[in-house]
């Protein structure tokens, strides 16, 4: 669990993982008993290219404090070229969010293969730490969805 020690803030993190590499990577990290934070919610997608910018925005809208998209390494896409398109698309989206003044660190793209269980766990830990340090998402949240519970309530452990 990644918690901001000073504020007790536990971020909600959404990770979109492609079915063929990153989701398998997450699986591997699990079978190898590598810890990654429980506040990372994984959403499996057939390919990183399936992720439309709206998915990212809606994740933020529905209460995510950080959104990370994981796919196969460029060149290794199960569908040959999907992640190349993802790369351009997400670069532009990240840039646009930054341009709107939304903390650029809240969105990240990482390439994680099916063999990289350790990398998956490490990436998630570092991302969760970064978001915990950044604090709650206040610039791209839907106020109607804001949790009424006090911030920092620790969700059930793994």
């Amino acid at each position: 669990m990644q918690v901001n020690e000073q504020t007790g803030f536990v971020p909600t993190i959404v990770a979109f993982c492609c079915n063929w590499c990153s989701y398998a990577g997450a699986d591997l990290s699990g079978t190898n008993r590598l810890q990654y934070p429980a506040n990372v919610k994984i959403i499996r997608v057939p390919c990183s290219c399936r992720v439309n910018p709206m998915f990212i925005l809606r994740a933020f809208g529905r209460g995510a404090d950080g959104v990370i998209l994981c796919g196969c390494h460029p060149g290794d896409c199960h569908y040959t070229t999907g992640n190349y398109y993802t790369r351009r698309r997400m670069t532009l989206l990240c840039s646009m969010l930054d341009y709107l003044g939304i903390e650029r660190k809240r969105t990240r793209v990482e390439w994680v293969s099916a063999a990289e269980g350790a990398k998956f766990a490490k990436t998630m830990r570092s991302f969760a730490e970064e978001i915990a340090a950044l604090g709650p998402n206040r610039r791209l949240e839907d106020l109607r969805v804001r949790k009424s519970e006090p911030e920092g309530r620790v969700p059930d452990a793994e």
Binding site: P53, M54, L57, R58, F60, G61, P74, G75, T81, Y84, Y85, R87, R88, R89, M90, T91, L92, L93, C94, S95, M96, L97, D98, Y99, L100, G101, I102, E103, R104, K105, R108, V109, R139, L140, E141, D142, L143, R144
Partner: protein, 324 residues
């Protein structure tokens, strides 16, 4: 110029080259022209106008018009021609049903700018050299044309027509791009907090009238994601600031790589939100990251968002920015 266009349109109607003409129709005052289809010489004589207030881009109407029987003559300003070409690239217009006539544009005035210069009650406008002479309810006023020009025209990208069947007047040239991205540059240099406050201030005025989307020559989906009840996004009013941001990011994103920067979105915004600054940010990023690209330049170009190079920058390039 207006008379020249009318004469030519009448000839083309008379010799059967075209059956209809799309252009601009006179309004109540001098500034409130409406895009219109003319079918006869009489209609053209009576109501056709072409002057410094014909900012409306007629290219989007050609989707509908070119699907009809018979050829239509379209008068295209350089901006309109870029949009037209982009629509051709997307196979949205039946080229064989359009007779495209490129026409020169000296920049279009913005009645909003005239009003914000403190001139109200404008009932008539005439051009006199470098000035507009305005008859108003409260006496005659003058304004330098450059002070009345729309922002998009002050930083005009091109006086050239990338596509046409016939040209009236002399062909112009591309203009240097520096000024066009100045405002984007300025925003990029601000802190994230400043940018956030800037955009909150702008987007919070949005009334979700959808004018920016509906006027956009690049927004041509039959059923927009924002109108589709199954998308979960089809809220008609921005009930929360999140929805304002969401709508405007997605609107700009959906036309990224296809936007020709015609500036119609900002022109029509009733709240005067500088929406073109979102589109221009995408244009600037695409140019910088994937090489200079101009949507509408030709009908064969491949949209940078549906192409790639193996050595493309990683998304982390955004995180590195401004670190140095």
């Amino acid at each position: 110029m207006r008379n020249k266009l009318v004469e030519r349109a009448k000839e083309l109607l008379a010799d059967g080259t075209v059956t209809r003409v799309i252009g601009w129709k006179r309004g109540e005052f001098s500034y409130d022209v409406t895009p219109a289809v003319f079918e006869t010489a009489e209609e053209l004589e009576k109501d056709f106008v072409y002057d410094g207030f014909c900012g409306a881009n007629v290219s989007k109407y050609l989707i509908r018009e070119s699907a009809k029987e018979g050829k239509i003559l379209a008068f295209l300003k350089p901006c309109d021609a870029f949009s037209f070409n982009q629509l051709l690239a997307e196979h949205r217009i039946r080229r064989e049903n359009v007779y495209a006539v490129g026409i020169p544009c000296e920049g279009m005035a913005d009645i909003g700018k005239i009003r914000s210069a403190g001139i109200d009650g404008v009932t008539g406008i005439r051009e006199e050299g470098e000035e507009f002479v305005l008859s108003t309810l409260y006496g005659e006023e003058r304004i330098a044309k450059k002070d009345a020009l729309a922002e998009r025209c002050l930083v005009c990208k091109s006086k050239r027509h990338p596509v046409y069947d016939e040209l009236i007047g002399e062909e112009g040239e591309d203009l240097p791009d520096d000024a066009r991205f100045e405002a984007v540059d300025k925003l990029e240099k601000m802190t994230a907090e400043e940018r956030f406050q800037f955009w909150r201030g702008e987007l919070s005025r949005c009334i979700r009238c959808n004018a920016c989307r509906n006027v956009c020559p690049a927004c041509t989906c039959e059923n927009c994601v924002f109108d589709n009840p199954d998308s979960g996004l089809s809220q008609k009013a921005a009930a929360d600031p999140f929805e304002e941001s969401m709508y405007h990011i997605i609107r700009a994103f959906h036309v990224a790589g296809r936007c020709t920067d015609c500036g119609e979105c900002s022109r029509v915004c009733p709240e005067n939100i500088p929406l073109h600054l979102l589109n221009r940010k995408f244009i600037k990023d695409i140019d910088e990251l994937y090489g200079a690209y101009r949507a509408g330049e030709n009908a064969e170009n491949k949209n940078p968002l549906v192409s790639f190079r193996e050595e493309d920058a990683e998304p982390s390039v955004v995180h590195e920015r401004g670190r140095a």
